[in-house]
Symmetry: C2
Subunit: 267 residues, 2 copies
Amino acid sequence: MATGRTHRPATRSRGIPEATVARLPLYLRALTALSERSVPTVSSEELAAAAGVNSAKLRKDFSYLGSYGTRGVGYDVEYLVYQISRELGLTQDWPIVMVGIGNLGAALANYGGFASRGFRVAALIDADPSMVGKPVAGIPVQYIDDLEKIIEENGVSIGVIATPAGAAQQVCDRLVAAGVSSILNFAPTVLSVPDGVDVRKVDLSIELQILAFHEQRKAGEDGGVGGADLPSAAAVRAAAPAAVAASPASTAGRKGPDGDVPAVMPA
Amino acid sequence: MATGRTHRPATRSRGIPEATVARLPLYLRALTALSERSVPTVSSEELAAAAGVNSAKLRKDFSYLGSYGTRGVGYDVEYLVYQISRELGLTQDWPIVMVGIGNLGAALANYGGFASRGFRVAALIDADPSMVGKPVAGIPVQYIDDLEKIIEENGVSIGVIATPAGAAQQVCDRLVAAGVSSILNFAPTVLSVPDGVDVRKVDLSIELQILAFHEQRKAGEDGGVGGADLPSAAAVRAAAPAAVAASPASTAGRKGPDGDVPAVMPA
DNA sequence: ATGTCTTTGTGAACGCGTGCACAAAGATGA
DNA sequence: TCATCTTTGTGCACGCGTTCACAAAGACAT
């Protein structure tokens, strides 16, 4: 442990900006890597590079947590790992339930990474009776009817939804009613929840669409202000045949593999 | 189609704020749902509710695209679907490659949702020879050595990385060298790429950690200043036993299932 | 044609997040 | 003890994004 403890008592709780909170896991990951290599200290410059952010931003982020650092030296790796872990609430055990054990749900459940950061898969839940009892990642799948009981008994407050879009809101409602107050949503739907419940969403389809936007912008560049360019090699590619929703009319009757898709993906 | 065409010529291209771009897919999804129900028009209020945003924000977002709306009436659903699709570049076909066909990669590949929005899985690529040739989602897995050739031949400009963390940067470099300029990264690593290449990351572990932070904040409330809510049992739960990385020392020697984990998950 | 009613489009104010740049703090060596 | 050198912590300014609030635009009825 580095410097003496002239640090602020605690968290200054409410004061940590959301943007900073979102970066803490990045810092933690970089610090853990350093820790495993037994690096004793890091400068804000080094750590920022490892985390892919600006060093000034990193210092400001840390300043919200308190003054953990030694001028002229840097930050004590182990100490900082501990402080950030504590700040993020990773020094305690978080039992989570995952609802919807389809392709994606099963893939997520199969990660060993859960346990390594204070998260423990307390239960896997599905609505398909034929799945029930079948072990996924060593954990037997349980039936959706027992959702409330499972949450109750395991003291779960974080839930992961990996169901089809059509089922997501219903599952969400039941989770919330049973006491879950943080939800990670992989279903392509907007969930509505009461105040006090946090929802974060992961949506591959949206990410791809954002990438497509930028990709299109890159392709249609050198031309001019307007739009109809499409020049270079990259552009040639973009000029592929197919067209989805190309005409306003074509979208109407469609009812593809979407509309009820399992998880991360679709629009 | 609603009003006459007093609209601006085109996109005002560069002018669309990033935050707006990130919401366009949400609007598109909501509009598509309306379209399928044959709803002819929506007001900003209704659509905003469906997309889970503020109506003023939605109107401002749309104003960046041009003036597609009729005062006193609202927006023409079909027309707006088309405009947003075009803006996002979804009226063209985007071939993508996915590298790393493990649990997660396979799960992602299995989504039918890809094709439904202009994205087409051109190839699945893995470094495990025993995977090669095996069909996943109806597409035979190809060997990593052919990566460059595959990208070239298919004119791929968007790549998805679902490899273990340790392989991600290397795969990324090869993708970029081969001409890919947009990457969706599921590996828990910070990728460094040259200018002009867009990277978006999806990281379950980070999302969970952010949720844990807020969950902890909710739990440890009553004592402090702000809001002593949480009347229910939720608070009791958070006071769980176990502790990960509870002591600064405990983190050092650890080398769990992490460190090289496949994809979305770990820290 | 005219008035009323609805809903858009946007000017303006505000707040958050970012990055610069520097003073203060501490380490280190003479 | 004092000077120098490194690196933190932060005051400040700037720009982006959000939200309010309202004038303008158009639909619709009379």
